[in-house]
Amino acid sequence: MKTILKNVNLLHPEQKINEKGKDILLIDGVISKIGGLSKEDSTDAKVFDFSGKYVVPGFFDMHVHLREPGREDEETVVTGCNAAANGGFTGIACMPNTEPAIDSAEVVEFIKKQAANHLVDVNVVAAATVGRKGEIISPMAELREAGVVGFSDDGFAIKTSAILKRALEYSQMYNLPIIEHCEDETLAGGAMNEGVNSTMLGLPPIPSIAEDLIVMRDIIIGEYTGGKVHIAHISTKRAVEMVREAKKKGIRVTAEVTPHHFSLTDDAVKTYDTNTKMSPPLRTQEDMNEILKGLKDGTIDCIASDHAPHSPEEKEVEFDHAPNGITGIETEVGLALSELVHKKVLSLEELINKMAVNPRKILNLPVPKFEAGQPANFTILDTEEIWTVDLSKSKSKSKNSPFDNRLLTGKAVAAVNNKKMFYQDKFVEL
């Protein structure tokens, strides 16, 4: 089948492609020609006019909770992928805190089977320890053979320094990262960031040093072992500073940040809205400023949603009793464009690096290429469209987001991958 994406702006920072007003011919989902299309090429082709839109390498979110197996009432592999496609993503990595945890090849295969034939590529992050209990490292060699791209006990940091050291030693045989949720359990356990807001709201506090201490530990053990440490959802000023220093020293550490940590502060908790409760918690303006600086100077490698669906019955409760986490994969691109590109924190090219290139590199995955013969793996952006978030239109099974009704500038209008395109609210075969 022939498809033409008409009059697009091509932008691929890694390949140094920046071309305006091109037509792309796809045949059966594979790039056939970029520009210079003949009359013959147009014959029998389905034409999509994307005038003024950017075609960029498909976005990749390396931190998504799909909830399957175990909590299919909140999200399934398929609904999570639908939400990802709606958010403009062509690939995701899902986290292992399912029930059972993803700590065996069987569970990995199950998830891959659920995700088969979807537009969105699902890559699996397996548990770093058996049952995420922090006691014995997971069968990493076998898990790698089953196709996992990294290891994490997400939800917690790996419990002890000794186990983290072993995990980093073992995983580096396969060059796979240990993805760390940095939080000292003995200092955490509160409901929001410790600050003047937690004092005024009477909510049990989580000090920022709970994150800082584990980031420090992980960098030190990472340096010692030579393993790859990836700091998930970085949220504190000090943590960003430490990652910056570590990178200068050549330590193999990378970091991601969520859209909520670069667009909200703990002021948002003042309403006791449980959709402002997540781990790590929303921090202060000072932390956010350092995150923006870290995004700009390259300390923070990528943007990831930490998409964490929860059912309304779990979230519509007292703040203390609500679980941590918010959905985010469908608002991620809009928030990144609004808060980072339009506010000149990042150029569009830099954003593409953080949302398409760097996450794949961290996970040793190939970055989609713009050349004839390559499968089409694109995100199509309208950087100027002004739109309002409407959670009722979300493709996720859960609607626990603090961004409902938020006005955003810029969105992903389509995602193309695996011979499919998600466009105008539906999947189209290419």
Partner: protein
């Protein structure tokens, strides 16, 4: 002039005029409490539910008495916290109660923000009777009433809140209310029990109890929670009593008349020695009586709002 809000969720942000109105209205009801027949028909026909998710005999009885003395129909609904996890959600419980057509809800809950949550899901007037370690506005009001009754004013007074500030709902309500009324507020206690950012609320932090006695006109001494997690925040009861407890010797040594309040129940020999708890400087039982008058005032003012 009516109150500016139809709920009493806390004293943070409550305007001075509202606090003044509540305190003045309480004076009227305080007088009612001295009559042989202590009942007025003000809230006749109104139904008030006391929704207690946490044990609190004193606060509940005080509210219940206030409701009965205003001739309202009072219903007690106690939910043991253990049933929270397995039973009905807070939202469903509230929806059920609301379906029975109630006018006001007095809520005590272990989770901060629970009263705010109720305002979003039901139409009744909500009165916070203590939410987690957040606020306990009627306690703050009755403390202010009691201080004003004794000292004749609040403005310019120096008040120190002593004890476990970090795990107290009384402290914040006192801080917000007293500051609005122009008092100077400080807190005194072991640093492990003082919230890290409390000074940003315009409150001075004191670590020495003698200094607290010398510098202040009023000490509002909080109960040290011996039964809860708070017990982990100081080395021993003996050490607390010795370095932060208020004793007659200590008051004498500092040679200063200082008014002592305590929200009760008292741990005798811990935060207050028996001598001080029964001494001439304290107004602990007046606080209890005033508590009923304050709650009558709050219920009356909210219950008769148009």
């Amino acid at each position: 002039m009516p109150l500016s809000s139809r709920h009493l969720l806390g004293l943070q942000g409550v305007p001075k005029e509202d606090i003044q109105l509540i305190l003045d209205t309480a004076t009227t009801f305080r007088e009612v409490l001295e009559r042989p027949i202590k009942r007025v028909p003000t809230l006749q026909g109104k139904t008030i539910v006391n929704l207690f998710y946490e044990n609190s005999t004193r606060t509940r009885i005080s509210f219940e008495l206030a409701e009965k003395r205003l001739s309202a129909d009072a219903i007690n609904f106690a939910v043991s916290s253990s049933s929270v996890s397995k039973g009905e959600t807070f939202k469903d419980t509230m929806k059920n109660i609301e379906a029975m057509k109630v006018d006001m809800v007095v809520v005590r809950h272990s989770a901060a923000g629970a009263p705010q949550f109720l305002t979003k899901i039901c139409d009744a007037n909500i009165i916070n009777a203590g939410d987690g370690i957040h606020e306990h506005p009627t306690q703050g009001l009755l403390d202010m009433y009691s201080i004003r009754e004794k000292k004749g004013k609040l403005e310019g007074l120096k008040v120190c809140i002593v004890g476990d500030i970090a795990h107290s709902r009384v402290a914040l309500s006192n801080i917000f209310g007293l500051k609005t009324m122009g008092a100077e507020v400080s807190v005194c206690g072991p640093l492990t029990m003082i919230p890290r950012y409390i000074e940003e609320l315009g409150v001075k932090v004191i670590h020495n109890i003698d200094e607290a006695i010398q510098e202040n006109d009023v000490l509002n001494v909080l109960r040290i929670q011996l039964e809860r997690k708070a017990r982990e925040y100081f080395p021993s009861i003996r050490e607390y009593a010795r370095y932060f407890g208020i004793t007659e010797e200590r008051l004498e040594k500092n040679g200063k008349e200082v008014l002592i309040l305590h929200p009760g129940p008292i741990n005798r020999g811990v935060e207050l020695s028996s001598g001080v708890a029964d001494g001439l400087n304290q107004i602990i039982l007046q606080q209890v009586t005033n508590g009923v008058a304050i709650r009558m005032a709050v219920l009356y003012l909210l219950g008769t709002l148009k």
